[in-house]
């Protein structure tokens, strides 16, 4: 093998926090060979992003220090003067980030921003730089690049912005591209496109890629070699196939066991719990257990939604006249039994969250009925609505935003109990303690404030709060999407336990197909505000009928390098917008039952 492009030896990076030096990366060594893709995987706080910043020397000198040796083609980057380093950045090493909107300047056109890099780094004159920038936009397969050249960042979609970022990064033909979670903020079909683009460009340019991610599926899809990091240390460093097939370190095993894999569920009719794993030695304690059958199929449905429609007006012009409407939810109908989990899946903007909020009437629906326990929620007066809402609770995506930062956890949990007069005094305290125990936290933790908890713990608290009023239905809006893999598995197990214990019905809103396959009984796929396919989980996943469902399923990265999907064509489809003109009327379509309980939307 030829000499490595990047060689990191004994890297140590420390930050000064409150007067003390804390190591973020300790004694890390790895190599990146020419043309190779190395993935650094780890959960939050593992030091993977700090490693990327250290290589670029973007750690602030005042509060951080980097030791060790980082050699780019034999040249020690840590020994270079700042002036030289500036030439290395962009020219030899380029970087793309998670959030392309904040990485692009909103007041400059994308063409200008790429051309600027070319003029600065490659010394091209204006005309040459613009011509080259246009060529770069075409290279990253942006459709009608010429028209896009003079667009501003906000006029592009997230996927297109990430393409622009890649074009900017590649403008100077770097030897190494560092990609820090470049697809995390993107929808799964867009993520597949971007990963494919990076692979293709890598072949064309012959550059090396250092790919930083938390997603084992993405790793399997793209990496030749994997470095697993945990709390600033390297645990494993091996070719991808070896890491996935025979992981050495316990943590890697635990991490892999906690990853839901699409297709894992063949032959399982019911949701499957994640195995319990000791994160210190990686021992799997007990095999994954199928959850008990909690669905009360014989009873009348707990929730009946029919023809639910939610639209938002878009006003414009001087007089604020109605210009168009966002058809967020269009004619959505489904039922939910007690003890059942119905998953609403779809990509951003498909209306799945709006559906959940419309059911609780946190957003007023425009039409349709929502019958909950026999009462039509949409027709209730204010007092009755408050009464019904006690039985319908919600868990949110961001555990940091869903708790009031100025209330102790105990008082946040006690508040609903006291307000609704369910208990008083010591009895209320006991209930709070019991709720905390139920979600696996110690009752003594009630005196603490939300910022003293980790993300996973906060999500447990949010779940406990939702349970305080003993609801029958819980709407979980991307409830585990922001959590690390291992924490995600624990929270999902908790949700399954609670379902078994209290007979909860879940409306599980998620974009993550693998998680949905693991926990749901039935699945509804949403696209542009409509349910395009609805059916038993096994039927939808093993025999998808609607083209969109198939596309969605094929885009999900599978955490197994052996099953790395064949090169897909370089698609540039975007998710269409649900904004319509005032006179728009929906094409006449209906749900057709193709198999018992399996419905697909088809044109009439």
């Amino acid at each position: 093998m030829s000499a490595p492009v990047l060689s990191v030896q004994n890297l140590q990076t420390a930050f000064r926090i409150g007067g003390q030096w804390r190591w973020a990366v300790e004694d890390l060594s790895f190599d990146v060979a020419p043309g190779q893709t190395v993935a650094i995987v780890g959960e939050s706080g593992s030091g993977k992003s700090v490693t990327a910043l250290s290589i670029m020397r973007l750690v602030s000198a005042a509060n951080g220090r980097i030791e060790g040796r980082i050699a780019l083609e034999g040249r020690d980057l840590l020994a270079l003067p700042e002036e030289e380093m500036r030439k290395v950045r962009g020219n030899d090493v380029a970087m793309i980030f998670q959030e392309p909107m904040t990485s692009l300047n909103p007041v400059l056109t994308v063409g200008f921003q790429i051309a600027e890099v070319l003029r600065y780094h490659r010394g091209l004159d204006r005309a040459a730089a613009e011509a080259e920038a246009l060529r770069m936009l075409e290279r990253v397969r942006i459709p009608s690049a010429k028209a896009r050249f003079s667009n501003y960042p906000h006029q592009l979609s997230g996927g297109m912005r990430q393409r622009v970022m890649i074009a900017t990064a590649l403008a100077c033909k770097p030897k190494l591209l560092i990609a820090d979670e470049p697809t995390t903020a993107l929808d799964v079909t867009i993520q597949a496109q971007i990963l494919e683009l990076i692979k293709t460009l890598q072949d064309e340019e012959g550059m090396s890629v250092l790919f930083i991610t938390h997603d084992m599926g993405v790793v399997a899809e793209i990496a030749d070699r994997v470095v697993v990091m945990w709390k600033g240390r390297k645990l494993e460093d091996a070719p991808s196939a070896q890491v996935f097939n025979s992981p050495v370190h316990g943590y890697t095993k635990a991490l892999l066991a906690a990853v839901p894999r699409l297709g894992d569920m063949l032959g399982h009719g019911l949701p499957l719990r994640f195995p319990r794993i000791d994160p210190d030695n990686g021992e799997v304690r007990g095999q994954p257990v199928e959850a008990a059958d909690t669905v009360k199929a014989g009873e009348a449905p707990l929730l009946e939604v029919s023809g639910l429609t939610t639209r938002f007006g878009i006003r414009g012009g001087v007089l604020g006249r109605l210009r168009g409407r966002v058809h967020a939810v269009e004619d959505v109908s489904f039922t939910l039994q007690r003890g059942e989990t119905l998953a609403l899946v779809g990509e951003s903007g498909c209306g799945k969250s709006t559906t959940g909020r419309s059911i609780l009437r946190l957003i007023e629906p425009s039409a349709g009925t929502v019958r909950f326990g026999g009462r039509d929620v949409t027709k209730l007066g204010k007092a009755d609505l408050l009464d019904v809402r006690r039985s319908m609770q919600m868990i949110f995506q961001d555990p940091f935003a869903s708790l009031n930062p100025r209330k102790s956890v105990g008082s946040a949990l006690a508040e609903p109990i006291l307000v609704h007069g369910l208990a008083k005094g010591t009895e209320a305290q006991e209930r709070v303690a019991d709720l905390l125990r139920r979600v696996g936290l110690a009752p003594e933790m009630g005196v603490r404030f939300p910022h003293e908890f980790s993300g996973g713990q906060r999500q447990r608290i949010a779940i406990a709060r939702a349970l305080a009023l003993s609801p029958k239905l819980v709407v979980a809006d991307e409830a585990v999407s922001a959590l690390d893999v291992s924490v995600k598995a624990q929270v999902l197990n908790l949700m399954l336990d609670l379902q078994a214990e209290f007979g909860l019905a879940y409306l599980f809103i998620s974009h993550d197909m693998a998680v949905v396959e693991r926990v749901s009984h039935r699945v509804a796929v949403m696209y542009l505000g409509e349910i395009v396919e609805l059916g038993p989980r096994e039927a939808v996943f093993s025999d998808p009928q609607h083209p969109y469902t198939r596309k969605l399923l094929s885009a999900v990265p599978v955490p197994d390098p052996a099953r790395r999907s064949l090169r897909r064509e370089l698609a540039v489809d975007e998710i269409p917008s649900p904004i319509r003109t005032l006179d728009w009327s929906a094409p006449r379509q209906t749900l057709v039952e193709t198999a018992p309980g399996h419905f697909v939307r088809q044109a009439l």
Binding site: R389, M392, L403, H420, T426, Q429, A462
Partner: protein
């Protein structure tokens, strides 16, 4: 009402930490300590005026009128032979009482209006905030002047007039963070938990926007004191012979050419307290802002 026992003693450590964080942030901006010390000193002087004033502020002594500062009268005497230092100390009481009372009234009313407008939004918000903007378009002195002229120059009326001039500012400062906090998931969770609107506003929104309102109050206190002095200067203050800083400047103005100290002492007093309140307010703002960032 007691939310739960968890709100009792064990909560103290995080609160103390908050206090410590505020003190250390105050330390980062040393001048704010100067502001705090001066404000506390002025408040003490006003409270202790009956004890420390060397003379009765209303006692006229025709024989020793218009005397320059010397050992009997540290700051001299005015046209009626009253001790300027004593009048200054008693005048601080009027300034502080009117300033603090009007700011508290404005803070309560303005925050209530701002939170309601921000929470309910829509047409209610537009109408209320337009009304506030109209009030804001008047210079506060002109508005105060009109109101006092209409109501009559008593201490209560002056307080109400000054409060009215600053309500729009508080409404604005309360409305903006209400709108951003309203979008947070924990507010939505509160709605899902079937809490009433009043409860969400009082128990969940108010504590989150209170620091910003408090900073605004410290800055507006200076403004209120200045407005009170201005009203007194143009003759619409608390009626003579009660000592007010603005009134002292007005009385001294007639003799400014040969007895400059009549005007100098109250002018400096106003300058110092306004300056001190402003740097204290800036310090408070610096102390509270980074903490909010760290918490999110």
């Amino acid at each position: 009402m007691s939310a739960s026992v968890h709100d009792a003693a064990p909560v103290a450590p995080p609160r103390l930490r908050w206090l410590k964080a505020t003190i250390s942030a105050f330390n980062a901006n040393k001048t704010s300590w100067v502001g705090l010390v001066i404000v506390v000193a002025v408040i003490l002087a006003a409270v202790l005026a009956p004890v420390i004033a060397p003379h009765d502020p209303l006692e006229q002594n025709i024989l020793s009128r218009l005397q320059p500062p010397h050992e009997n009268y540290y700051l001299g005497t005015d046209y009626f032979g009253r001790d300027i230092l004593s009048r200054l100390l008693y005048g601080a009481r009027i300034s502080l009482v009117i300033g603090i009372a009007s700011t508290v009234i404005a803070m309560l009313a303005g925050s209530l209006i701002g939170i309601l407008a921000g929470w309910y939004g829509g047409r209610f918000d537009v109408v209320v905030m337009q009304a506030m903007d109209i009030l804001l378009a008047f210079p506060s002195l002109i508005l105060g002047l009109i109101l006092v002229a209409m109501l009559g120059p008593s201490m209560e009326n002056i307080t109400i007039a000054i409060a009215l001039t600053s309500i729009p500012s508080f409404a604005r400062i309360a409305r903006a963070p209400t709108i951003s906090v309203k979008e947070r998931d924990y507010i939505e969770a509160g709605r899902a938990l079937a809490f009433s609107d009043a409860r969400i506003m009082a128990r969940h929104i108010l504590p989150n926007i209170f620091p910003e309102i408090l900073v605004m109050a410290s800055l507006w206190l200076a403004n209120a004191i200045r407005t009170e002095a201005s009203l007194a200067f143009i003759g619409l203050g608390v009626k003579p012979p009660v000592a007010t800083w603005g009134g002292m400047i007005r009385e001294g103005f007639e003799n400014i050419l040969d007895s400059y100290w009549l005007v100098l002492a109250p002018s400096l007093a106003i300058l110092i307290i306004v300056f001190a309140l402003n740097i204290l307010g800036d310090g408070l703002r610096d102390a509270i802002d980074p903490k909010l960032k760290g918490e999110r």
